[in-house]
């Protein structure tokens, strides 16, 4: 493995509200190598999603550094951080989060448009990815017209379309039945096989042990980082 494409050091994150302060991450150190498949596990409310958000730059941090491609993303202005996200990252969420007023095809091609990478081949690339996730025949359908599994497959196609270096997946199978979840997981393994790094947050022990590396988070700290434990 070459050097890490993401390197986080001493990351702290605290949520503040009227009710007081809730520490979510406490001194996280984390490295991600190119093409790695990392699963993140831990009990609810212990900081898994916050870790994903902070490492990807979706959320700010209170202390520490997160360096991706040589840049501390939390020191970048919003415009550059957003631009970086568009070009180098893909996201898959438990709630799918497709844009309801766009068709499946439009949802998939959107990241290319946003990253300024669109050209005449964009539509063909989006169609190719929809074909790959088995939804080529439903490209004109809007999210409300698709099942949960289909929506998640569109979300995966969307995450892949701009060839991101890192794909962040937050409980991607949380809303799916076991059979559909298996299909989605198989798809994610295919993604990984293509050489893209994958960080997958999950509750599911079987999924958690299906990656190359397991990270366990308890009370905002990484308590285990190593090969998956049976």
């Amino acid at each position: 493995m070459t050097g890490p494409i993401l390197s986080a050091r001493g990351v702290h994150k605290t949520y503040r509200s009227a009710g007081g302060e809730t520490p979510a991450l406490r001194g996280i150190d984390f490295d991600l190598g190119a093409g790695e498949f990392v699963t993140v596990m831990g009990p609810s409310g212990n900081g898994k999603t916050t870790l994903l958000n902070c490492l990807s730059g979706l959320d700010g941090i209170d202390a520490g550094t997160v360096v991706i491609d040589g840049h501390d993303i939390h020191n970048l202005p919003d415009r550059q951080r957003t631009d970086h996200r568009a070009k180098r990252m893909g996201f898959i969420f438990q709630a799918f989060n497709l844009i309801p007023v766009f068709s499946a095809l439009e949802n998939v091609e959107l990241p290319m448009l946003l990253a300024g990478m669109a050209d005449r081949s964009t539509r063909a690339r989006a169609q190719e990815l929809l074909d790959r996730v088995g939804l080529g025949h439903r490209e004109d359908h809007r999210p409300a017209e698709l099942s949960g599994g289909e929506q998640q497959r569109v979300a995966i196609a969307r995450a892949l379309v701009s060839h991101p270096a890192i794909i962040w997946a937050d409980e991607p199978t949380g809303n799916l039945d076991s059979h559909t979840a298996e299909d989605v997981l198989a798809l994610l393994h295919e993604v990984h096989a293509d050489g893209q790094a994958l960080v997958l947050v999950t509750h599911d022990h079987d999924i958690g042990t299906s990656g190359e590396r397991l990270v366990e988070v308890h009370d905002g700290q990484i308590t285990y980082d190593g090969p998956p434990r049976p």
Binding site: T82, H84, R85, F93, P100, L113, R120
Partner: protein, 939 residues
């Protein structure tokens, strides 16, 4: 139990997001404010005119007046007073004699004071008698005036003195009957009651003295002095008019044979107040109705958005057992609370709007220097009515919209999926649609055979709507809606060319109906063109361009119901403003034609005070004047085929000099006459012929139902009750000089005697002279006669500008409706940001720049506004063009259709700019959404 759940839900939802609740209240209050403003405007006009009962009349209810020369005036008045005093008049508590004359008052100075007041009146009356006249000395305005003015002095009304720049001790010049006298002002009096009836009080005998000193030949041209007996009825300031009809009848009976005129002054004034107030109330309510409709559409949108936002929780509540009725009640309770708040706040806002309109109206209708003469009158009934109507409209809208919301699909709601309302065709719906088709067909048949433009025009849209409703379940809805809407628009544009005979001279209401139907059809058409737009966007994004446009248009195209509501709301207001703006421009443009048509080849129209008219020989001698025609003017009572009630109307007499340089243009003339001039020459020769204006004997307060035609029989009555039969030989194309009706001078004198004056002249100038310069010089040279000299263009401009100003006032009032549209769009965008937090969060996570999110929202609002502006302006211009070309209201050829480019430009630029400004805040908020937080809130 369920009821309490509904109530609790409503209360929690209001308290949960007070700022959002406030937005709904703001959205709902705008419609109420329009209603409140209309009611207050009506009351204010009514109240302002009614105030004249206090300021101009006081205890005076009726006047019995005679005109007589200076030697006869005192005797005639005394006889009249004696006759009345010795008659037992029921419901009368006082009589007061007075002598009056029209006069020109001036300061006698030229530079440093106000210009002469050309139409004032001087009065001789005994203060002691006034104090005992009527129920209360204060009402008469003479409570503190003990003596009449001493010889050579006058008591002047404070308002006139102020206009002339005079104060106590100054000298005022009173000009009448060709002579003038100076009086020293010894007292300024409040213009209230009897003191407000005329402008200055002069010592007894002054009027006769002025008239006696008239140069030879001048007195015959002037209005004779007026002798009057004022009558006060039993009762207070206003309720005394309850007896006016009976008292007037008694007075007419008692004074029969006296050649006296009896006028129920106060009853007329109060009736006029009521009529004007009522008409303006109706007018502003009707025009404001467009804005109220826009407000209702906005409210529907807001309630639908509220429901959309709470869809998941409503689905869950329904799933765990909350009944549909409870959901409905919960929304109703919440909506009723918003409605109540908005009704009260809207009424308060409406009072503010009314104040602005009244202030503008004061400049249009009254003295531009003193717009405060129109009072803002707040009556509890109007305010309560506004609150009630505002609440009723909002509550009904909320109740009806909530009914639709309560029918949500539980599963779709819980899964947060768009609910596709499957509208089941009920027997009732089928029956109503079939009935609609049948009624439409019957209307069409009747409209065609009778013919009736109203029925003929409205029947195909009704048939189209009903047929579409029937077919919507058998054919693709989009196809049915698009075809139906396109058909309706095509019908509106083609009905006149297709049925020229049947649609001849329709009433203006047909065009209002046409506008509304076309706007509705255009909105249906526009919202069904979403696929066309989507295709265009696809073409654009296929090359990697137009991401912001893609994001901006996706929501309005996907949510057609909401977009339709917004479009309809906005288009209606733009339509009305453009429609009014077009007529304002048309009126402005028609002045030169109107001036040419009414000038008869003359250059100036010169008026002077009726009691001190200009001597035509003085004008003829002027070096710049080439010809003068003197007109005999007064008012006579007429009846005709469509006006059986005796109606007082202006009458003008002319002689050969009037036709010396041409003739006024006629809209229609008897076929016997080859030219317009021939028709006028016939009137000179035939005492039984008359030429009338297009508005002859039409009510000024009701839409014209009939117009005068050549050959109509007219009956005129002279002062002694003798009837004269006349036949219409021609109808004037335009009547800016307000001739009313034209007969020969000889016939006019015989009909009007003794109450006519020869105080108007048409003046022809030497070639090459500047009419404006000569007009100013004549007015200055003959200021003692109260001379006003204007060009015909100035005259037409002056009259048209008042109408145009009034239209502009209505536009400003409607501008408030535009505010509703713009504010509504802003409110909708604010709510859209809240509703789309999840999508915005995801877009930001995927790498959408904040700038792009902001641009997307701005473009979305501009897209809707631009659509509405296009629909509103295009349809308004098409409708206005039809009105001008086809409507009987504009059969007058001096009016030509013009596009009001300035208005159009304003209505394009301002709404788009303001839309961007109102969307700026929600767009900025959307751009500031932090992706992690937006996504976390949902987890």
């Amino acid at each position: 139990m369920i009821g309490s759940v509904a109530g609790r839900l409503a209360a929690r939802n209001i308290l949960r997001r007070p700022a959002e609740a406030l937005l709904v209240v703001i959205g709902a209050m705008l419609g109420t404010s329009i209603i409140a403003a209309a009611l207050v405007i009506g009351d204010s006009f009514d109240g302002s005119i009614r105030d004249g009962a206090r300021t101009q009349l006081g205890p005076i209810d009726e006047i019995v007046q005679v005109r007589a020369g200076p030697d006869d005036l005192d005797r005639r008045v005394a006889q009249l007073a004696d006759r009345l005093a010795h008659t037992s008049l029921r419901h009368v508590d006082g009589l007061l004699t007075a002598r009056m004359a029209g006069a020109v008052l001036s300061s006698g100075r030229t530079q440093d004071t106000g210009s002469p007041d050309p139409n004032t009146c001087v009065m001789e009356v005994s203060p002691a008698e006034v104090r005992h006249f009527g129920p209360d000395p204060e009402l008469g305005g003479f409570a503190r005036i003990r003596h009449e003015p001493a010889a050579g002095t006058t008591f002047m009304g404070r308002d006139v003195a102020s206009r002339l720049g005079l104060s106590t001790g100054d000298t005022v010049q009173v000009a009448a009957y060709g002579s003038a006298r100076s009086f020293r002002v010894t007292r300024l009096i409040e213009p209230v009651g009897v003191a407000g009836y005329c402008d200055a009080l002069v010592p007894a005998g002054s009027i006769a003295e002025l008239a006696r000193s008239a140069p030879e030949g001048r007195a015959e041209m002037a209005e004779l002095p007026l002798g009057a007996v004022f009558v006060s009825n039993n009762g207070g300031l206003e309720d005394s008019v309850d007896h006016s009809e009976q008292v007037t009848e008694q007075l007419r009976a008692v004074t029969a044979g006296f050649d006296a005129e009896v006028r129920p002054l106060k009853a007329d004034l109060l009736e006029n107040a009521e009529r004007t107030g009522g008409n303006l109330r109706t007018l502003f309510s009707a025009i404001g109705g467009f804005s109220v409709a826009a407000g209702v559409l906005l409210l529907i949108n807001l309630v639908v958005m509220l429901a959309e936002e709470r869809k998941v929780e409503l689905g869950v509540l329904r799933a765990i057992g909350l009944r549909r009725g409870a959901v409905w009640r919960s929304f109703c309770i919440e909506g009723f609370i918003y409605s109540a708040a908005s009704a009260v706040l809207g009424t308060a806002l409406g009072i503010g709007v009314a104040r602005l309109v009244i202030s503008g109206a004061g400049r249009v209708f009254g003295d531009p220097d003193d717009p405060s003469q129109l009072l803002v009158v707040l009556r509890p009934a109007a305010l309560a009515g506004s609150v009630a109507i505002g609440f009723g409209i909002s509550a009904l809208t909320v109740a009806a919209t909530s009914g639709r919301i309560a029918r949500l699909n539980i599963i779709a709601a819980i899964r947060d999926l768009p609910s596709h309302h499957v509208v089941r065709r009920t027997r009732w719906a089928t029956l109503i649609a079939c009935l609609g088709v049948a009624v439409g067909v019957a209307e069409f048949a009747i409209g065609f055979t009778r013919p009736s433009p109203e029925l003929l025009f409205s029947s195909p849209p009704l048939i189209a709507w009903s047929t579409a409703s029937l077919l919507a379940h058998r054919l693709p809805r989009r196809l049915v809606a698009t075809t139906g809407a396109a058909f309706v628009i095509a019908w509106c544009l083609a009905v006149f060319p297709l049925f020229p005979r049947e649609m001849e001279q329709p009433r203006i209401t047909v065009f209002v109906e046409m506008g509304l139907i076309m706007v509705a059809a255009a909105v249906v058409l526009a919202t069904n063109l979403d696929r066309l737009w989507a295709r265009l966007i696809r073409m654009l994004t296929a090359h990697g361009r137009g991401v912001a446009v893609h994001l901006a248009l996706a929501y309005p195209l996907a949510r057609r119901f909401r977009t339709g509501m917004l479009l309809a709301m906005f288009s209606l207001v733009i339509f009305t403003m453009t429609f009014l703006g077009t007529f304002s421009a048309i009126l402005g443009d028609s002045a030169p034609n109107g001036a040419r048509d009414s000038s008869a080849g003359f250059d100036l129209i010169v008026d002077s005070n009726p009691s001190n008219p200009l001597d035509p020989t003085d004008i003829s001698r002027d070096r710049d004047v080439a010809g003068v025609a003197v007109l005999v003017r007064g008012s006579a009572e007429f009846t005709n085929g469509y006006q059986p009630e005796p109606t007082t109307w202006p009458l003008t007499g002319f002689d050969e000099a009037f036709l010396g340089h041409g003739a006024p243009a006629l809209l229609a003339r008897d076929r016997r006459f080859r030219t317009d001039r021939d028709a006028f020459e016939h009137v000179l020769d035939d005492p039984g012929a008359i030429i009338v204006g297009t508005e002859f004997l039409q009510s000024s307060t009701a839409p014209a139902t009939e117009e005068p035609e050549v050959g109509d029989r007219v009956v005129a009555r002279n002062r002694s009750g003798e009837q004269v039969r006349l036949r219409v030989a021609g109808v004037l194309r335009s009547d800016y000089p307000i001739h009313g009706a034209l007969v020969s001078a000889e016939r006019a004198r015989s009909l009007l005697a003794p109450t006519y004056s020869e105080n108007r002249m048409f003046v022809r100038l030497q070639a090459g002279e500047s009419a404006d310069l000569v007009a100013r010089r004549l007015a200055r040279s003959f200021s003692n006669n109260g001379t006003s000299a204007r060009t015909f263009l100035e005259l037409a401009d002056d009259q048209l500008s008042r109408m145009a100003d009034f239209i502009r006032l209505m536009q400003a009032y409607l501008g408030f409706g535009l505010l509703i549209g713009l504010a509504g769009l802003g409110v909708v965008m604010v709510r859209a940001v809240r509703e789309r937090r999840r999508e915005i969060g995801m877009l930001r996570a995927m790498g959408t720049q904040a700038r792009l999110v902001r641009q997307g929202f701005l473009l979305e609002a501009v897209f809707v506004a631009a659509h509405a502006v296009t629909i509103g302006i295009t349809l308004a211009l098409l409708t206005a063009a039809q009105v001008v070309v086809r409507s009987g209201a504009f059969s007058n050829a001096t009016v030509e259709f013009v596009v009001p480019w300035a208005t159009v430009a304003t209505l394009v630029v301002v709404p788009l700019l303001v839309t961007m400004l109102t969307t700026l805040v929600p767009a900025r908020n959307a751009a500031a959404i932090r992706p992690a937080r937006a996504l976390r809130e949902l987890g």
